[in-house]
Symmetry: C2
Subunit: 472 residues, 2 copies
């Protein structure tokens, strides 16, 4: 077993060395793996040495999400001690339903929840960790659904339609969750966003009024703090006013933006979050903690237990409800996703997080400035967070991303930024240097220069999008 650990460490060392070298990592076509002998587990086993060699190859062939060439997702890079915490959690292998089984891990999870509640301004609330922001959003929406339709947990749905409101820029999990929760995807209202991507409160109010007149039940308003593509922050105070007025649950999807509560200046973008009923906050995005590490925070300290507790005498055998977090969860067996975040927080402290966030924001602003200054590129908007959207005017953004990816220069995605098909670079890895960004810009320009003109100008794309929106 100890030998296995040293074998594993060697593969990790190789990965870390590759990240430091940051050589281009050309895309491998899926067909290259099609020999089933290689990937298909068989009747007979192989020696550990053989399997380790296979693991080494898998690691070498996997896109390196902590390589300075990776800008594709809302996560990148790692806090080293968080990775250590994750490894220890894997070896301890406890399930977080009871103190009996998980011991102090249950308590340190609670300390994290408490710290996050304080930062959100709802210090007397409750919270739980979930495997991903989509599921945290699901629980937030579920609580709102049950507030609007109190019999739904036990008896099933009421006759009225249960309506969810979210900006057109919101995450797709809101639609998906409405389908899962029996609320219906067509009962999700896509509220207009202003030019900077923030929900328009007047449109929210009029949508609610229309639904009330039609006899529907407005159930959940979802505000987004840090939209997926553009990083916009919805106006929480105005939305909270409306929710208060109509008695609607306010869920804040701060999966991306929640971490900004640790930034002394930028946290003002979330003014009003202390009036939310529930909040999603992913630590695996801006905080460099391995996937997944998502918290759901709630204002009402009893509501999670009230909503999810089931009799399970075989499991909940000792201690108070507080020490049995399984009673507050949609899961039964649950990984210890807390230890990695706890280790990172102990090491960095609030101050260390603020510095890390500063660096991520600085990189986005630096990149935006360089793009703006470059004659061959055009910035779509000043980045409110770490998503930098820009174009090489006249050139196809998807095609540019594809070429960069194929050659291995960078993994970058494209986005829809207010109707403009943009190159979207997310600066989540604070280890990326300004020089690496400069080099990548030059690579993008070089790729673009060889492409034929194919895309309309930003101006034309925006006009088309806005006339399409007003005619729909």
């Amino acid at each position: 077993m100890e030998d296995l650990i040293s074998q594993t460490s060697k593969i990790i060392d190789e990965l870390l060395a590759a990240e430091r070298r940051s050589a281009p990592q050309p895309r491998i076509a899926p067909e290259a793996f099609e020999d089933p002998q290689v990937l298909r587990p068989g009747r007979q086993g192989r020696s550990e040495a053989e399997v380790f060699e296979m693991l080494r190859q898998i690691v070498a062939q996997t896109p390196r999400s902590s390589d300075p060439r990776f800008f594709n997702q809302l996560f990148a890079g790692r806090v080293p001690i968080a990775a250590a915490g994750e490894v220890l959690a894997s070896y301890m292998n406890v399930s977080m339903y009871t103190y009996k089984a998980a011991g102090p891990n249950v308590l340190l999870e609670w300390e994290l929840v408490k710290r996050m509640l304080e930062l959100a301004g709802i210090p007397d609330g409750d919270g739980t960790f979930l495997p991903g922001g989509s599921l945290a959003n699901l629980v937030g929406m579920l609580l709102g659904r049950n507030q609007a339709a109190p019999g739904m947990r036990d008896e099933g749905a009421p006759p009225q339609r249960l309506i969810t409101y979210v900006t057109v820029e919101g995450h797709y999990s809101i639609n998906k969750n409405a389908g899962i929760l029996g609320m219906g995807r067509s009962n999700v209202r896509a509220i207009a966003a202003d030019p900077s991507g923030r929900l328009c409160p007047e449109d929210l109010r009029s949508a609610i009024e229309t639904d009330l007149q039609a006899g529907h039940l407005p159930a959940v308003v979802v505000a987004t703090s840090g939209t997926t593509v553009r990083g916009a922050f919805d106006p929480l105070e105005q939305m909270a006013d409306i929710c208060h007025e109509f008695g609607i649950w306010l869920h804040v999807d701060a999966a991306v933006g929640g971490s900004m509560l640790l930034h002394p200046v930028e946290r003002t973008q979330m003014r009003g979050i202390e009036r939310a009923d529930s909040i999603t906050w992913d630590a695996h995005k801006m905080m460099g903690v391995p996937l997944t590490c998502s918290a759901l925070l709630v204002r009402d300290p009893e509501i999670l237990t009230r909503s999810f507790s089931e009799a399970a005498d075989y499991l909940f055998q000792a201690d108070t409800d507080f020490l049995n977090p399984g009673k507050r969860s949609i899961q039964c067996g649950r990984r210890n996703d807390a230890l990695k975040l706890w280790a990172a927080w102990q090491h960095l402290g609030d101050e260390g997080w603020a510095k890390r966030l500063d660096r991520q924001l600085h990189l986005a602003r630096y990149l935006a400035k360089q793009v703006e200054a470059h004659p061959a590129l055009e910035l779509c908007e000043a980045p409110p967070l770490t998503m930098v959207n820009f174009v090489a005017p006249g050139k196809s953004s998807p095609r540019i991303c594809e070429i960069l990816h194929t050659r291995g220069d960078a993994i970058v995605g494209f986005g829809d930024c207010a109707g403009v098909e943009s190159i979207r670079m997310v600066t989540m890895n604070p280890e990326v240097t300004e020089a690496q960004l400069d080099r990548l810009i030059e690579e993008i320009v070089a790729v673009a220069s060889k492409l034929p003109d194919a895309a309309p100008s930003i101006q034309v794309q925006r006009e088309r999008a806005s006339s399409a929106a007003s005619s729909s």
Copy 2:
């Protein structure tokens, strides 16, 4: 960073040594951790060395789930190379929504799904990994709900009640999920079990007929392969006949038992599983893979995409749907739970799994035999799987478990075995020796002998339970 890895390895080595020593691990009262200075993350950070020392203590104070004294849950022990796979997955830190982001990990996940589908007898189906059996059950139930009420994903619930059927011995997640999915917990019918804990098909049929007469919509029948407390296997063929006759979705909760499909003899207990519409199979239970590693398998190869695909142009930018498993998932960001199972399967092969299962079953039968032979103990039933339920006649099972736990002799739970409050030992860790079981039996007898007589005999408990059931 490399230094961090060697620090982490040292803590793991200590944990492994402690598991080998298997000294008693007395329960630590939660109050012992109540100094907030220790567990609460603060404004200022601490050095990595300090945090490592804290991590070392957390590990030392956490119940050792792979210690031969741990019999409390449906998991215990570890396949070493699975732990290695888990560690590498943490360091690669890819999200499993796209081939673009996760590369070959998406393909090896598919090979696992395919192998599991073959073993279940639905080779042309589809599948996905989920964080835990409760959520896999949720997806299975959701698919059945949407079959019974095809408009529910988009429009919301129909006026009729949507009914779920599961044995009284089924897992509590079925109730919880009915609440989440908008089907209603009071619309879950608890079907009677026979004396060996298997669902009674006649009772299922008559419950369905009653609901149909009342105008309700029977939506999902949940069969359990390996019930939580007793390890019973529901009669799948008869249940499949009934589901076929009435056109109801058959979901098999084989979270525990699914692995037995790898056992050439015992797999016959699941005869009929090839007629299921959906199946939950947790590899983190009998297969010694770190938490969580749950698969949901489905017969209809299109249904997951049809049920969960959403437009998300920012994410799904390349490749076919097959290479974008995010379109088949209730999650967005998703951990790589596949690599650990894949590494273990490559090493063990089907044959290695069969041997491992044999050993787990052997330990359960050995323990049952020793209990039966002991004058101070009474076996409740021959264990169909790895859950061994027994009593020290006249003595309180919960009290015995509590004393063992407090002293650190063993972590063991109690159960309700056909109305009898039993000591429930689960033999999931194949590394446990017969001598260790013998020693534990003696410890249990010694603890029991010092307790006052408090519990009625098995016979009396059973009679009370059966008269309570027939009067309700």
